[in-house]
């Protein structure tokens, strides 16, 4: 193999003329993490609400929740981001659409990326929340009723605190999925970690150094997130309960 390795490339000035390539990659990581964090908040809140809806006695709430999940699970994430980025501004009233199109570069792709990833991940979180609530024995909810708690109180004080603890392992892998999925936003122009590595490859032709660095950074982030979540899981564990883990697939 005649490939010219050049690991010093990371300390050379990047295409923007100001930072080194190493800094460029870490700025990419910054965008990856901030996008994942913002989308994660949306996904957690909306996903929890949808997951709860799908376990309530109300038939319509269940149907609405199911429809949401089917819609967001059966369209590829890339297509969903295209819908937010290209299609939404055209469908909105003209003034609103134009103001969206006039957003300055990082925000023009950041906002649709956060929205798209957040709503996409919410569908997956809602599956986990629903599974977590359904994994609890029926008696828990009934005991809540017997104590005179209202339906919202039953969720707030009885069902959800245990359900969240049960679904910590699948939520951990969802968090990882979300961080990895932010890379799809490079197709709508967000310069996150994968895009930064790709631009480094395009400008320097040092393909394997760029991708090796990005891979290493993803692995380190992965390890940190997994350990943080494991620590969180341990510190909130209720003694005497070992939550059955709910299978989480996909990526």
């Amino acid at each position: 193999m005649n490939y010219n390795w050049n690991w010093k490339i990371f300390f050379e000035v990047s295409a923007d003329g100001r930072h080194t390539w190493l800094t460029t990659l870490f700025m990419g990581l910054g965008w990856t993490l901030i996008t994942a964090l913002c989308a994660g908040i949306i996904a957690f809140l909306l996903g929890s609400a949808l997951g709860v809806m799908r376990t309530t006695p109300s038939k319509w709430a269940v149907r609405l929740g199911n429809a949401y999940v089917e819609f967001f699970r059966n369209i590829p994430l890339l297509v969903q981001l295209f819908l937010w980025f290209f299609v939404l501004p055209e469908l909105l009233p003209k003034g609103m659409g134009n103001s969206i199109k006039q957003m300055t570069p990082p925000w023009a792709s950041f906002v649709p990326a956060v929205l798209g990833l957040g709503l996409f991940t919410a569908a997956r979180v809602s599956e986990q929340v629903r599974a977590g609530i359904q994994a609890l024995s029926r008696g828990q909810g009934q005991a809540g009723t017997a104590l005179g708690l209202t339906l919202p109180q039953r969720y707030r004080y009885v069902l959800l605190p245990m359900a969240y603890r049960i679904i910590m392992p699948p939520l951990t892998s969802e968090t990882m999925n979300l961080i990895k999925n932010t890379s799809v936003a490079l197709t709508i122009g967000l310069v996150e970690l994968t895009a930064a590595a790709r631009s480094m490859q395009e400008f320097t032709f040092q393909v394997f150094e760029a991708f090796t660095a990005a891979t290493a950074i993803y692995i380190v982030v992965n390890l940190i997130v997994v350990n943080l979540m494991r620590w969180l899981e341990k510190s909130i564990a209720v003694p005497g309960f070992i939550g059955p883990s709910v299978a989480g697939g996909g990526h």
């Binding site: 193999m1 590829p76 055209e90 590595a197 990005a214």
Partner: protein, 229 residues
């Protein structure tokens, strides 16, 4: 809101489905078949008592699962020509078509996910059956092929299919290599005719209908299998 022209879809149906969807479905089929075979081998390696078999398999699966698919696509796009050159002993990176490159990428990437499913499937078979296999004189490969794997596959069919639906959706990511898969075809027409809204809405609808129908089939299958047990 501008005037929409949904006629553009009708005019490009031939291109979208004959070129685009054919590519998407071929890629999905080949990657699923290769991924399941390779994934099963990986699962058997991971469950092996030999460290030098289980450790590399575990490392491979964990590596693939911790980096984004897009990065894997870029990796293989540039790596495969070098590996090819190394295999045939050429001094320059060989030319690998976009199709071959994406099939290899998805096979290798999905193998990691399929292997996790197959590992669960193999572990769902009681150990006693393996011992029974050995007791009647079967060797490791015979026990696997005739006793364990047929049942493991059968138990895991719904999950394998669900993973394949995810794979079908993920193949849209070859868009970044400017390949004419279904989304690539839609996007090329969209940009040529300035009809982004119509084409992307149509692409979303087609992906939705196919994935929704397939997951409905999986649900039916799951119920059928549940009754047999």
């Amino acid at each position: 809101m501008g005037a929409f022209d949904f006629g553009v879809i009708e005019r490009s149906l031939g291109y979208l489905f004959k070129e685009g969807m054919t590519f998407t479905l071929t890629l999905t089929g080949l990657a699923a078949a290769g991924g399941i075979i390779f994934g099963t081998l990986l699962a058997m390696m991971r469950l092996s008592s030999h460290k030098w078999l289980s450790l590399p398999a575990t490392a491979y699966v964990n590596l693939m699962r911790s980096i984004p698919l897009l990065l894997v696509i870029f990796w293989f796009y540039f790596l495969v020509p070098y590996i090819g050159a190394w295999i045939v002993g050429a001094t320059r990176p060989i030319q690998v078509g976009a199709f071959a490159s994406s099939v290899i990428t998805f096979m290798m990437f999905e193998a990691a996910y399929y292997s996790e499913i197959m590992r669960a499937g193999i572990q769902s078979i009681p150990r006693g059956q393996v011992w029974a296999g050995y007791a009647i004189g079967l060797d490791y490969w015979q026990t696997m092929a005739k006793v364990v794997l047929p049942q493991a596959f059968r138990n895991m069919i719904p999950i394998l299919l669900t993973q394949t639906i995810i794979l079908f959706q993920d193949t849209s990511l070859v868009y970044v290599l400017s390949i004419t898969d279904f989304l690539g075809a839609a996007s090329k027409i969209a940009q040529r005719d300035g009809r982004l809204v119509e084409m992307y809405l149509f692409a979303a609808l087609v992906y939705f209908l196919i994935s929704f129908a397939l997951s409905y089939v999986v649900k039916l299958l799951q119920q059928k299998i549940a009754i047999i047990r």
